[in-house]
């Protein structure tokens, strides 16, 4: 599980970065045109020519002043023109950002396969990829995508090695991307070494920091796009660790994006906990100058097949996000339960979510007792785990993270990653909040464990059943269950 790369969270010195860079750019022909430090300077020049509103960081500041919540659609197809067409569908709705997902091959650094799929897509006029192949289309492609919209274009730096795609994205004028130092392994990876993954992300953050030092306010995003069945506390832990690793490389603008679980109180509590703890730990690290913004990512769990139900679910995700008072939200679209999203689908989704946000207006979830307790519990869970990680790394999170995986200090229920212990079990309580049925080896404070047990017990009492794996099976389709199946059980 370790490649034995010498690792520390300290900011890379620029020469070390440049030395690494050579091999990165030689991974694929489109990288060679970026050889040399001049290429970076040229990229920065391109950026200097862009207006402020091409920058996700600036749009964050501006929308907060205006008290306006941002709504971000998603795109990603094999060809540049397919991707541009998709984006054009919503240009008159002025999205603040476009979230461009890369395809699976690009994510696995299988650039040849991606190129091959591009060729076949051109031939058949159909997209053979589930995302946009950043490397295959190179800087020219990235700029074409960037220049087709007023929005701030960014990407999900997914899968093990996104260094080359990131070089191309930045040179292409894109202004933000996602931090994947830890989440990546839990989400997508089978056995990629932890140290190498963190090292790759340090490269990405270091380059972003260099741009920022040169007056280009690149934004990095801790995404917590973990499955909708994961504990909120766990998601906050992962995000916080990534925020700190990223800031250590000199990044100055960070989104605290949280994949929600759809329980209003718990999601709001998690969003607030992540903001509070990020500020506190960053300040303690001496990073008072890092700006942070709260965001949500729509529930990444089971989506209903019935369009009506899917639409209702999208709206609830928007309502939760708005009531929680976020800076912005990443949305999904009505047809996404079964197919790769379309431009029309996202236009409709923007109207749906936009209307909900307009109607919620300035309303926020009041600071009730439930919210206070839930937030306190999440904060105490996250402190315990993050402090443990630091301790294991003798103060160095990069080192600590590697050890934490092995020890099961970082662990969850569903993950392809072999080096996770996989001892954790999470279920929903009577109100749909996510609770630990089993927290495995995670060092959770006793109060937290008991709090979760207690709310599981309340549901057990109400349903007259005992919590076990059967609950987990049933909850795999908790949200997506067809209404007809549900009412069929009613005897009248």
């Amino acid at each position: 599980m370790l490649a034995g790369i010498p690792l520390s969270m300290k900011q890379w010195d620029w020469d070390y970065f440049l030395e690494q860079r050579k091999s990165v750019l030689s991974l694929w022909p489109t990288g060679t045109e970026l050889q040399g430090e001049e290429a970076i300077a040229a990229g920065i020049e391109y950026h200097k020519a862009q207006p402020w509103w091409k920058y996700a960081s600036r749009r964050n500041e501006r929308s907060m002043e205006e008290g306006r919540i941002q709504i971000v659609p998603q795109v990603g197809h094999a060809l540049v023109n397919q991707t541009v067409e998709h984006m054009q569908c919503s240009e008159d709705l002025k999205p603040d950002r476009w979230y461009v997902l890369t395809d699976t091959y690009t994510r696995k650094s299988e650039y040849a396969k991606a190129q091959d799929a591009v060729d076949r897509s051109k031939r058949d006029g159909f997209s053979y990829l589930n995302g946009y192949p950043l490397a295959a289309h190179g800087v020219a492609g990235a700029r074409a995508v960037n220049e087709c919209t007023r929005a701030a274009v960014g990407t999900d730096n997914n899968d093990e090695d996104a260094r080359l795609p990131w070089e191309i994205a930045l040179a292409g004028g894109w202004t933000w991307g996602t931090i994947k130092s830890i989440e990546e392994l839990i989400q997508h990876s089978r056995d990629y070494p932890v140290d190498r993954n963190i090292h790759n992300q340090q490269y990405i953050d270091r380059l972003a920091a260099h741009y920022t030092e040169n007056g280009i306010p690149i934004l990095r995003r801790a995404s917590a796009n973990l499955p909708g069945w994961d504990s909120l506390g766990f998601k906050v832990t992962v995000s916080l660790l990534e925020v700190l690793l990223s800031a250590a490389q000199g990044v100055k603008h960070i989104d605290l994006s949280l994949g929600i679980g759809m329980n209003l109180v718990q999601d709001t509590a998690a969003i607030q906990a992540l903001r509070n703890l990020s500020r506190e730990y960053l300040d303690r690290m001496g990073r008072q100058d890092v700006k942070i913004y709260s965001w949500t990512y729509f529930f990444l769990g089971d989506w209903p097949l019935q369009r009506g139900q899917m639409v209702g679910q999208l709206s609830w995700n928007a309502a939760v996000s708005a009531l929680a008072g976020v800076c912005g939200m990443y949305i999904k679209s009505p047809d996404e339960a079964t197919t790769t999203p379309t431009g029309e689908g996202f236009r409709e989704a923007m109207e749906i979510c936009g209307q909900v946000v307009r109607l919620v207006a300035g309303q926020r979830l009041p600071e009730g007792e439930d919210l206070l307790v839930e937030r306190a519990m999440i904060e105490s869970e996250v402190r315990a785990v993050v402090d443990k990680v630091m301790e294991m790394g003798e103060g160095d999170i990069a080192v600590g993270a590697c050890r934490a995986f092995q020890a099961g200090v970082i662990d969850t229920m569903f993950s392809p990653y072999r080096y996770l212990k996989g001892k954790v079990k999470v279920v929903r309580d009577a109100n749909g909040a996510l609770r630990y049925l089993d927290h495995g080896h995670m060092p959770l404070p006793r109060e937290v464990v008991e709090y979760h047990k207690a709310s599981i017990a309340r549901r057990e009492a109400r349903e007259g059943t005992k919590a076990d794996v059967k609950w987990i099976v049933r909850e795999a389709t908790w949200a997506s269950r067809s209404m007809i199946d549900e009412v069929a059980e009613r005897t009248y």
């Binding site: 997508h188 990876s189 097949l305 392809p416 389709t477």
Partner: protein, 141 residues
């Protein structure tokens, strides 16, 4: 298959596909139903399914694919199994295979052409799969 022995199935998510929730749920349900499950997890190369099936003398291979690349990942799966002398092993495929949800029949036909005995539409319930397995393997329900 020999009645004394518990029916054995190999299960996992194929190719570069990381979607592991569905196959994990299936695993739990299958074990609850008395099957012996060889669970390979996600991001599993086709060859690994075949090796695991041979080693465990599996009665069936359950392949999951959600990320939209099933067409490519599964193209020659049936052929590979045949080569490996697994022609008696039942091959099931499920997840989200469709590119156009409207045309399920086409999708099913396509993947049956790749050698799968049963192909399932999105969000198929675990009990459906289990019932089919029991009848295909002659396990008393």
């Amino acid at each position: 298959m020999d009645a004394k022995r518990r029916p054995t199935v190999v299960l996992g998510t194929i190719g570069h596909d990381a979607h592991i929730v569905g196959s994990s749920i299936l695993r739990i349900a299958l074990e609850e139903a008395g099957f012996n499950v060889v669970f390979l997890g996600a991001v599993v190369p086709p060859e690994e399914f075949i090796d695991a099936a041979r080693e465990s003398a599996a009665d069936a291979i359950l392949v999951s694919s959600l990320y939209g690349m099933a067409r490519i990942d599964c193209q020659d799966f049936g052929a590979k199994c045949a080569e490996a002398g697994l022609s008696k092993v039942k091959l099931y495929l499920g997840g989200i295979l469709v590119t156009d949800p409207e045309k399920w029949e086409e999708t099913e036909k396509l993947f049956k052409g790749y050698g799968f005995h049963r192909v399932y539409p999105p969000q198929t319930k675990t009990d459906v799969a289990i019932a089919d397995l029991k009848s295909d393997l002659g396990v008393p329900a």
